[in-house]
């Protein structure tokens, strides 16, 4: 389950992923992230501002599916997201982005 937090100072939405990001996990996490972007944290009406950055932290991710790659692409192209970055990818996760050709279109740190 993704952990989502918004850094008000830096205007960055931080998403910490864990476990298998297969089609089930990715869909669940996508729903949570989009919900956060649209409505803010559950139970609080505090959506992020009109424009902000997104940071995906893959430190605890074990497996990346094509559904997760599509999530990355859709957020990178989201009209409210000014910058999309991925951090802490393992070597095998990094290879997944390279094989998909996404290392050329996404900011992977």
């Amino acid at each position: 389950m993704v952990k989502i937090a918004f850094d008000d100072e830096l205007q960055v939405l931080k998403c910490l992923f864990s476990g298998r990001l297969d089609i089930v996990g990715s869909s669940r996490d996508e729903e949570a992230i989009i919900g956060f972007i649209d409505q803010g944290a559950p139970g609080r009406n505090n959506p992020p501002p009109a424009e902000f950055a997104v940071l995906f932290d893959l430190a605890e991710a074990e497996y990346i599916s094509s559904a997760f790659l599509r999530l990355c692409l859709s957020l990178a192209r989201h009209d409210r997201i000014r910058e999309f970055s991925i951090v802490n990818s393992s070597p095998s996760a990094r290879k997944v982005f390279s094989v998909a050709g996404l290392d050329r279109v996404l900011k992977i740190l």
Partner: protein, 477 residues
């Protein structure tokens, strides 16, 4: 090329690339589970898919297409299931070399109208076994049956944990879209099974391609052959699915000494020997006079229907039309490849004359493909095989089923038969999963003692001849 076709190709390859990325993370056990599930799904639907292919294409016989589907699922699976295609596939401590399999990436599988559903099953299985996503591009006359086959496989693959979009298929096709896909920079390989034009387009696309060549299979019935077995084999092969397999016999060459017995045996099994007038009439419907190639009208049709098209009647139980011929060449239209139950028939006096004729047939559009011999004389079998330019020389078996492998021999089971340089292909192999991986070699240091013990001064000394160096090299070891 229109922007629509390019956009469609971009979308397909984008999906395939994501699937390729996900696929690369799967281990051998996970991959094998997917391959097994796809095999079972294909096998489960073998009859309905065969009937669909038969109804849609109007070619062949549905019962034979069922068997082809069994070969394309069960036999292909049996052949590849224990193949190592993931991770470390070989470790050799002596040489210090470890081989690691890497997937190629998205593959475009071009599907012919003659073997549509079975080729889809085959290409999907071998691609998934090597962890490659595949895009199925069917012949325009087989779109529905190929799409249905791919869909069944895809559902089974997903259920077994395969990546989304690991199998895609085109529900409409055009030359422009095929070209856009073939030449797309994200495509790893074209697996091209089809006619010479299509294979040439694949090779010209700039993307690596594995193609096939045209066949013109001579079958030599040598005097020592077991005639009843040979005739039974030839008929089982040439009439199978009304002759649609490219490895089927195209011309029967018989030694004069045994011709009467061979002819009687053929007639006993439903072969009909044409008169000169009937042969001439058959030429007109079987061959396109402008191209000199087989006419699509007769491909996969029954012997009785073809005779009707040509304007003569044959007994209703006729299964094969035998067309007596004297020579080979463009002025003998029936000496070329015809994927239908039509078999050119030649008689020659002695082994050498018969062999020369087989060579002429082999070089009339069939180099690199398949040659067939029926003989019990091992010396003659070897002489024949040495002189044929063929990827496969099949001995004492039906040529179609023999070349495809798995039933009568231990050749890899395949619906894509490499035809080597003669057929303008990179390999003569029966293409399988092993051809769809890149092998990475990890090379550990193992010094060559000959190289290091041999004084380098030898090479610098111009007075020392090449012969001396060659003689002395390795002496110190």
């Amino acid at each position: 090329m229109s922007t629509d076709h390019q956009a469609k190709a971009d979308e397909i390859l984008q999906r395939a690339s994501l699937a390729a990325a996900e696929f690369g993370q799967l281990g051998a056990a996970e991959t094998d589970r997917i391959v097994r599930a796809v095999c079972l799904a294909g096998l489960e639907n073998r009859v309905s898919l065969a009937k669909l292919a038969w109804e849609e294409t109007g070619r062949g016989e549905w019962k034979d297409k069922v068997l082809k589907n069994v070969v394309g699922s069960l036999l292909v699976y049996q052949d590849i299931k224990d193949e190592k295609t993931v991770g470390v596939i070989l470790e050799d401590p002596d040489s210090g070399i470890t081989e690691i399999a890497q997937p190629l990436g998205p593959i475009l599988g071009i599907i012919p109208v003659t073997n549509p559903t079975s080729t889809v099953l085959f290409k999907i299985l071998i691609s998934l076994k090597a962890r490659n996503p595949i895009i199925i591009s069917p012949h325009r006359d087989a779109l529905a049956c190929c799409g249905r086959t791919a869909e069944i496989c895809y559902r089974a693959a997903l259920q077994a944990g395969a990546p989304e979009d690991c199998i895609q298929w085109l529900s409409e096709t055009s030359r422009e879209l095929t070209h856009a896909l073939m030449s797309h920079p994200r495509l790893a390989l074209v697996l091209a099974t089809g006619g010479p034009g299509l294979v040439k387009a694949a090779y010209s696309s700039g993307t690596p391609a594995i193609g096939v060549g045209s066949g013109n299979v001579p079958v030599f019935l040598e005097r020592s052959a077991d005639i009843p077995l040979a005739v039974e084999s030839i008929l089982a092969s040439k009439t199978f699915d009304n002759g649609t397999i490219c490895a089927s016999e195209q011309a029967l060459v018989v030694e004069k000494e045994i011709v009467d017995r061979v002819r009687r045996e053929l007639e006993r099994h439903g072969a009909y020997f044409l008169s000169p007038d009937e042969t001439a009439a058959l030429e007109k419907v079987a061959i396109n006079p402008e191209t000199g190639l087989m006419s699509p009208r007769v491909v996969g049709q029954s012997a009785v229907s073809i005779a009707e098209m040509a304007g003569f009647e044959v007994p209703p139980k006729t299964v094969l039309l035998m067309a007596p011929q004297d020579e080979v060449g463009e002025d003998r239209p029936l000496s070329g490849e015809i994927l239908a139950p039509i078999l050119a028939f030649y008689v020659r006096d002695g082994f050498d004359e018969a062999l020369k004729l087989c060579i002429a047939l082999n070089y009339r559009g069939g180099i690199g493909h398949t040659a067939s011999i029926h003989s019990t004389d091992e010396k003659m079998i070897l002489r024949f095989s040495e002189l044929m330019n063929a990827g496969r020389c099949v001995v004492n078996m039906p040529s179609s089923q023999g070349a495809v492998g798995g039933m009568f021999n231990r050749l890899p089971v395949s619906f894509t038969l490499g035809c080597g340089a003669g057929g303008k292909n990179i390999t003569t192999e029966n293409i399988s999963a092993r051809n769809l991986i890149n092998v990475k070699r990890v090379c550990r240091r193992r010094d060559n003692p000959d190289w290091f013990r041999f004084p380098p001064e030898y090479y610098l000394d111009e007075t020392r001849s090449a012969g001396e160096i060659l003689t002395d090299y390795g002496k110190s070891n």
